[in-house]
């Protein structure tokens, strides 16, 4: 099964770290990614720019409306994701627990809905 592991973390917390600390965390992500590539679980994954760069789009009556943000007042923001292949939820949970942010933030594990292939 495929799972999306959504990484939620405090942007402010990360921004407040020293350069050396940030580099160490970056290093950890590199190691983690290498590990799940080697084990065959990795399908994809990216880190996202800060939420201050986000734009929300809605279409109302055929008109595209864009808003700056969201600047939700939640403590944690979506900061990145991994798409993984796992045998079952237990394996997906194990993979999620290996992501560095699982210690400081939280990981949401979402199964991918199976859909027929698009021609």
């Amino acid at each position: 099964m495929k799972y999306l592991l959504l990484i939620y973390e405090s942007e402010a917390g990360f921004a407040g770290m020293s350069g050396a600390e940030q580099a160490r965390i970056f290093e950890e992500y590199m190691d983690y990614t290498k590990g799940i590539r080697k084990s065959g679980n990795y399908i994809g994954g990216e880190a996202l720019q800060a939420i201050s760069t986000a734009t929300t789009v809605r279409v109302k009556n055929g008109k595209t409306i864009t808003t700056d943000g969201p600047f939700a007042e939640t403590r944690e923001q979506l900061g990145g994701f991994y798409l993984v292949e796992a045998k079952d939820l237990d394996e997906a949970i194990k993979l999620a627990a290996g992501i560095p942010a699982s210690r400081t933030g939280s990981i949401e594990v979402r199964p991918i809905m199976p859909t027929p292939p698009i021609e």
């Binding site: 099964m1 045998k87 079952d88 939820l89 237990d90």
Partner: protein, 409 residues
Amino acid sequence: MDLETLYREERPRALATLIRLLRDFDLAEDVLQEAFAAAVEQWPREGVPGNPCAWLVSTARHRAIDRLRRAKTFAAKQAEIAYLSEAAAPPPDFVDEPLPDDRLRLIFTCCHPALAVEVQVALTLKTLCGLSVEEIARAFLVAPAAMAQRLVRAKGKIRDAGIPYEVPGSERLAERLEGVLRVVYLVFNEGYAATSGDALVRRELCAEAIRLGRLLRSLLPRVSEVTGLLALMLLQDSRRATRVDAQGELVTLEDQDRSRWDRGQIAEGEALADDAVRRGGAGFYALQGAIAALHAQAARAEETDWPQIAALYALLLRLHPSPVVALNHAAAVAMGERLDRGLRLIEQLERTGELEAYHLLPAAKADILRRLGRFSEAAVEYERALELVTQEPERRYLQRRLREVTAAE
């Protein structure tokens, strides 16, 4: 044996196997129901098969294949039918009997930590105990429709999120087993702790929890905590008849009519408690089982081995520190050693503020003060306990005590 009883006994085993074969809770429940309807028709005429469970499983499995064949999305189901046909016409080494592990798989799936605890409890009662949605809803004071919805969502999550149908590997077994035991004990306590509500439903919950405890022990006989939990439940349940008097008033352990305790259950519970402790690594349940056994062994309340009970609570407190265990420890110290030492421990606990809202803390303190003859101080504590208590029989008990100490002043 009549068919209803037979079905009730065979159902969990058959269902557990069908869920493994069909990988679908709802489909398994439906086709098992149909298989039973067929049994009601056939068995009185042709006799009960030698292995009723295997008969139910294989009949239900064929029904499932028929259903999938008839399903509109035929193409999409091809692979599934191929898989099921294979299972229906098993290779020579295929065991057409339920594997003993099936029910263990089922209980680990129902008690998966990715499900909310109350959902784990409901799902366990539904699939492993065969309770109806209405029965479960009544036990937890939830509307049947809401309970049905909760179960549908849970089965959906098991399917769509890929919650595995297997016994966890040895590296995670202990951790996951803890969750399973917690669910079983929650079911038991739901039936045991409350003295209000539908007595019949509550007795049923205790019986189901004990049945689950027996099942777990038969599947994991060497795990101390599994044995300990069964011992604990049997010993607590042995006192059921004496906990409330004819007027519905609460009777404390001290005042219960011990001649009415269930001796058979006590004997079994004692042997199990002993076995659990001897295995070593006695934990949360095994220690509580041992404590319950000591209470059961005292022919009269005055003969209770309080020093031993206090020692076991001290051990429990070291392994599983919690303010409630600390309170029990303090009460045992008061009864076993000296009342004033127990009182000091309770006062220490009071200062932490952790049990601020727990009526049993002032109640226990009041009890010690009453035994010390400090009646006016006891009255203050009984009043505090009365402000916090929520259960009606407990409230009446505390009021009775308050009247006693007020009169004695």
